[in-house]
Every structure is written in structure tokens, then in C-alpha cells.
């Protein structure tokens, strides 16, 4: 679908550019040559036509860019919506389970089987909850981090997330934030999964010196010095294989777009730090683990 969208955009841009190019070329030849298809006094009109076409060409391509942005935004929102949907389904299943337990307890209490009720309660309280969520105020981060958390649990990866700010101070589009953090976490989990002894991924988002700092760390294989320069290149992956090596490239492009800084340290563990400049004039009060922010280390 995305490939089709790209091809369509490229086709339209090519058509618009080529037509304008031919008109400009033709008018220019008429101006410079001794032979003219039209009387020379009509040349200013054709010049204006060429200029007008050029402006239309620029506006059309710009509109294509806007449409493309809308399309990407829709796709990211759709993926975000699906993540929320998955969480909701899991939550419904959990609720259904609890209702069953409540009914069983109710029955025991009505029949005055207090010992059975006590035993039943003891047993279900020993069972680990099927789904646990990290409480995060930001709705985008809530959906994203919890879906990655569920994925990490399924893969047996120890996952911890620490969100120390509400992110309202940074002017970043939610879908871009989703893409930056999502790609960093996916990469970190893939790398950590290669560690046979307790794969571990941690994520920390904080507010420091007027910047939003995102740190994603994993204990997977270390990245060599030459590779550190190349991880941002499109198609480059330390794990090899086709259709790989686009995550960090996308992250780098987005961070650059927000005039942020990204750096990678790989000594005992691999740590990627993204710094996004915040809005100095509209800084919120610093919310430090006020209950809404979360700090969890499970599995």
C-alpha cells in the first residue's frame, strides 16, 4: 500500500515537472533563437505563462508533500489505534476472568461455604495477573510502551520503563514520537533477545535542562566503533537480512527534523540517547513520579 502511494506521488511529481520543464525550455528557445514560432512581441506573454506554470508546479508538489504527510500520519494513528485495541481486548479478557471469580465467591458466600471461599481467594490471589499495565499519563506513550511491554513479556525480556515527564513541553507530533520510541524499542528488543542470559531492555523519558531526553538501553551484543557511524544509514543492520536497517534511519531523520541530537554508547550495554529541544516559553512544571509517571521493572 505504501509502495503504491509512493509510486503514485512520484508519477504525479514527474508529470508536473516534465510538463513545466518542456514549457520553460520551449519559451527559452523562442527567446534566444532567431526563429520564433510566434511573433516576438508575444514572448512576454509566454514568459509570464512559463513563470505561472512554474509557480503552479511548486504549489502542486508542495500539496503532494502535505498529502503524503497526512497519509503517514493516518498510518501511524492506525497502528496506534490497533495497539490500543489490543490493550483493550486484553483488559476485557481480564475483566471477564475476574467476574467469573466474583461469581464463584458469591456462590460460596450464599451457601455459607466460608472455608471454600477462603481457599478459593487464597488460590486466585497467588496467580499472577495476566496483564499488567504501566501507568503513563501521555496517551500515545501509554499505548506504545504497554504494547512493547506485552511483547517483551511474551519474548521473556525483562522490560522497564520510566517516564518522568508529561511531554507537553516538547513540540513533537504524537505520530513522530510514536515512531521514534517505537523504532528504538523494537531495535533494543531485537538486540536484547540475542542475549541468552536474561535479556533486558529499559526505557527512560525525562525532562532535563529544557530538553526531553529519551534513553533506550539493552544488554544485547555491543556495536563496534565503525558500525556506530553506520547504524543510521538506510538499509544497514548489524543483524543482517532483507527489509532491515530502516528503524534507526527513520529515527535519525525524525530527530534531525526536530533539530534534536541522537547518540549511541555501546560499552557494557548499548544505550541510545535522543535529546529533543523543548519549548522554553511554555515549560510545564516538572512532574516527578507523581503516581501518573511510572517506574516498573518486571519479569
Amino acid at each position: 500500500m505504501k509502495i503504491m502511494q509512493n509510486k503514485r506521488a512520484i508519477l504525479i511529481i514527474s508529470a508536473v515537472l516534465l510538463q513545466t520543464m518542456l514549457v520553460a525550455l520551449f519559451v527559452n528557445v523562442q527567446i534566444l533563437s532567431d526563429y520564433s514560432m510566434w511573433p516576438k512581441y508575444t514572448l512576454p506573454i509566454w514568459t509570464i505563462v512559463a513563470g505561472f506554470l512554474g509557480i503552479l508546479c511548486v504549489i502542486s508538489i508542495r500539496q503532494m508533500e502535505e498529502m503524503n504527510k497526512e497519509y503517514i500520519k493516518d498510518q501511524l494513528l492506525k497502528s496506534h489505534y490497533q495497539e490500543i485495541e489490543t490493550l483493550l481486548t486484553a483488559s476485557r479478557i481480564e475483566r471477564h476472568e475476574y467476574r467469573k471469580h466474583l461469581q464463584a465467591l458469591q456462590a460460596c458466600l450464599h451457601l455459607e461455604l466460608l472455608d471454600d471461599a477462603r481457599q478459593y481467594l487464597d488460590r486466585i490471589s497467588e496467580q499472577p495477573a495476566q496483564e499488567e499495565y504501566l501507568a503513563i499519563e501521555n496517551p500515545v506513550l501509554f499505548g506504545l510502551i504497554n504494547s512493547k511491554y506485552a511483547l517483551a513479556r511474551a519474548r521473556g525480556i525483562q522490560f522497564s520503563a520510566n517516564v518522568n515527564c508529561n511531554l507537553t513541553s516538547v513540540k513533537i507530533e504524537p505520530w513522530d514520537l510514536n515512531s521514534i520510541l517505537g523504532n528504538l524499542l523494537d531495535n533494543a528488543m531485537e538486540a536484547a533477545a540475542l542475549d541468552p542470559q536474561g535479556p533486558r531492555v529499559s526505557c527512560e523519558i525525562s525532562d532535563s535542562e529544557g530538553e526531553i531526553v529519551i534513553v533506550v538501553q539493552n544488554n544485547g551484543p555491543l556495536i563496534s566503533e565503525p558500525d556506530k557511524e553506520r547504524v543510521w544509514e538506510v538499509g544497514f543492520s548489524t543483524k543482517g537480512g532483507e527489509s532491515r536497517g530502516y528503524g534507526l534511519y527513520i529515527v535519525k531523520n525524525l530527530v534531525d527534523g526536530y533539530r534534536g541530537v541522537i547518540n549511541i554508547v555501546s560499552d557494557s550495554e548499548t544505550k541510545i540517547t535522543v535529546r529533543l529541544p523543548g519549548d522554553e516559553n511554555d515549560r510545564p512544571s516538572f512532574k516527578k513520579n507523581s503516581g501518573l509517571a511510572s517506574q516498573t521493572a518486571l519479569n
Binding site: I13, S14, N28, L32, I61
Partner: protein
């Protein structure tokens, strides 16, 4: 712009007035450089200055050796294709990305040149016969185009204007 050299050259008769080497340096190189720079900048494609200079020089040399092609427009199209191919090889861009970059740069420069030429030709009562016979006037008449294009490039770089973000599409040529 390529057309400025070749058409004026043609009008004087290709064999009678071959493009002088200094016209290649003073018109061909800056216009090639600006074509690539403006196109790449507007499509958010990063091409190093060294690569842009190398491509401009190669195209300048090609332009010198193809100066006998006397069909206006055809020469320009051939040079657009050559530049796109060079960009593909040297910068490792996909062919369509390289092609669109050059075409956009060419369109911008062609329109600037069309507007500048119209004004200059009317103001100074120039004709192609004068330009073909006196290459220095040819070069001088091209200066406003270079100045306006350079100013435009400076502005779009400063304001970070991106017409369409082609860098989001991966370069399979890597």
C-alpha cells in the same frame, strides 16, 4: 543553463562559434552546480559539496564535447539524463530520485533564466547574433540568472524549505 550556451552557439553556427572553454567554466559549471544544489535541497536529499562539484565538472566537460549538437532542447535533455546518471553513480541515489532532483533543479533554473533573459534582452536590445559573436556578452547576460538562482538557493537553505521529502524513500542503490 545549458540552453543559454547551446542556443546562442547554434545561432552563430555551431562550427563557426564553438563554445569557448571559459564559457563552460563561467556558465556551465555554476549552472550545473546550482541545478543539482537547488533540486537536492528542495527534495531534502543530502549530496556533499564535493560530489556536486565533481558532477558539475564532468557535465561541463561533456557539454564542451557535445557543443556541436545543434538541436536546441535536445542537448539539454541529453545533459539532464547524463547528470541524473552521474548522480545515480556518484551519490548512489536511485535513478528516479536522481532524475527528479535534476529535473526540479532544471525547471527552477529554466524559469529564472526565462524571466531574466526576457528582461535583459529587452533592456539592452540584445539578440543572439551579438551573443554568438561575443561570448563575453553571453557570459555577462547569464550573470543575473546565476545571481538570482544563488540567492534562491541561499534562501531555501536558510529557511529550510522542502518541497517534497524524497529522503524518506530508501535508496536501494546502497
Amino acid at each position: 543553463m545549458y540552453i543559454n550556451i547551446q542556443v546562442k552557439n547554434r545561432m552563430g553556427g555551431a562550427n563557426m562559434y564553438p563554445i569557448p572553454w571559459y564559457a563552460i567554466i563561467l556558465i556551465g559549471l555554476p549552472s550545473n552546480f546550482l541545478t543539482i544544489s537547488i533540486g537536492a535541497r528542495l527534495f531534502n536529499i543530502n549530496i556533499s559539496i564535493q560530489k556536486r562539484v565533481i558532477i558539475s565538472i564532468i557535465i561541463g566537460i561533456l557539454l564542451y564535447f557535445t557543443r556541436h549538437l545543434t538541436i536546441p532542447g535536445l542537448n539539454s535533455i541529453a545533459l539532464i539524463i547524463s547528470t541524473a546518471l552521474l548522480l545515480r553513480i556518484i551519490s548512489r541515489l536511485t535513478l528516479w530520485k536522481a532524475f527528479l532532483t535534476i529535473v526540479l533543479g532544471f525547471v527552477v533554473l529554466a524559469i529564472i533564466e526565462t524571466l531574466c533573459n526576457s528582461i535583459i534582452f529587452s533592456l539592452f536590445h540584445l539578440n543572439f547574433g551579438i551573443l554568438a559573436a561575443r561570448p563575453w556578452i553571453n557570459i555577462l547576460s547569464f550573470l543575473p540568472t546565476i545571481a538570482v538562482a544563488s540567492l534562491l538557493y541561499w534562501l531555501i537553505s536558510r529557511k529550510n524549505v522542502i518541497l517534497y521529502n524524497l529522503s524518506q524513500y530508501e535508496d536501494h542503490a546502497k
